[in-house]
Subunit: 197 residues, 2 copies
């Protein structure tokens, strides 16, 4: 194997921070994953914190990109919600370690970067709120919806999939997204909606 780059170190951090937690992972653990000494990592990064910052930022950036796509898109609220659901799931599934580090270890960031990440995620969540509000005003969704609450519930549902969904299994990601979108728009009940529009 050749010399490692900073990107290799970040790659190891994604995996170990996700599996063992930030505080459960030592620099020596990361080194072992790459076949080098823990102390050698400091030629690539100046601190352990920096690795967590990198992983969280790259995840945040993906969510930001999805939000931009949806904001630029035309279509009904349901269509936009579907795109948000599918896009969000794709991000979680494409790099589950990155996603889990983002979701679970964000609280261990240094204060400045933590606030930065939280603000970034809130801007992302704002896209959910806007789509829900549009659907509510346009009578696609219930007019009595609590919009911020609904956004929180949808994101909880999506993010929770990282705890059990395995993309190697029988269910593929897009089908999962369809199931979720169906549950969100129509619920569990058996009788299909009468569309009055």
């Amino acid at each position: 194997m050749t010399r490692r780059s900073r990107a290799d170190v970040v790659a190891a951090a994604r995996v170990l921070f996700a599996d063992q937690g930030f505080h459960g992972t030592s620099m020596r653990d990361l080194g072992k994953e790459l076949g080098i000494r823990g102390s050698s990592l400091y030629s690539h990064v100046v601190s352990k914190d920096e690795l967590l910052v990198d992983v969280v930022r790259e995840a945040a950036s993906r969510f930001q990109t999805l939000a931009d796509e949806v904001n630029a898109m035309s279509g009904t609220a349901k269509q936009k919600l579907s795109r948000l659901v599918q896009g969000h799931l794709r991000i979680l599934v494409e790099d589950p370690h990155q996603a889990r580090t983002f979701l679970n270890e964000i609280r261990f960031l240094p204060e400045f970067e933590r606030e930065e990440a939280v603000a970034m995620f809130d801007r992302y969540q704002e896209t959910f709120r806007e789509v829900i509000e549009t659907g509510r005003l346009g009578h696609e969704f219930r007019s009595d919806l609590d919009v911020p609450l609904t956004a929180n519930l949808i994101l909880s549902l999506l993010n929770g999939t990282t705890r059990w969904f395995n993309s190697e299994g029988t269910l593929d990601t897009e089908t999962l997204g369809d199931e979720i979108h169906q549950l969100l728009t129509g619920g569990l009940a058996s009788v299909s909606k009468v569309d009055l529009t």
Copy 2:
């Protein structure tokens, strides 16, 4: 203050394991929370692991109790689901630190106790599956529902509330449960279901 009991130590563990993580909490941190030395904790417990085991077991036990209640209950699938949703939320809200430690730190348990806890939670989840399956067969719910998937989605939604719900806020727990139950059974769509039964 008088002498501390093992229960006091477990109480401190619930809070600090939830806020700082199991690996981010030292025995000295726990001691400080109680106003004693870290080493003094060993007159109450034999290891740090034991504290995590205690917190996880007490949470698991609460879920088990709820499952027993629902299994003993009569009513429609929707009513049972509502009871599961409300009961699950109440457990999360009554002791958020215990709940968050259970959800986030369970993976750091010693292998035997981890498998025990996972098995316990799967038995609990089985109650969700049974209720959903009953509703499906009785045409309360869609007949094409993927039952285990739906159980996972519902639990993801519920557990995710620990990340943002604050029972001190304007929204009380029961109303949150109603909103969730409404979302789950009817979805976001605006037109109310036509009940053919």
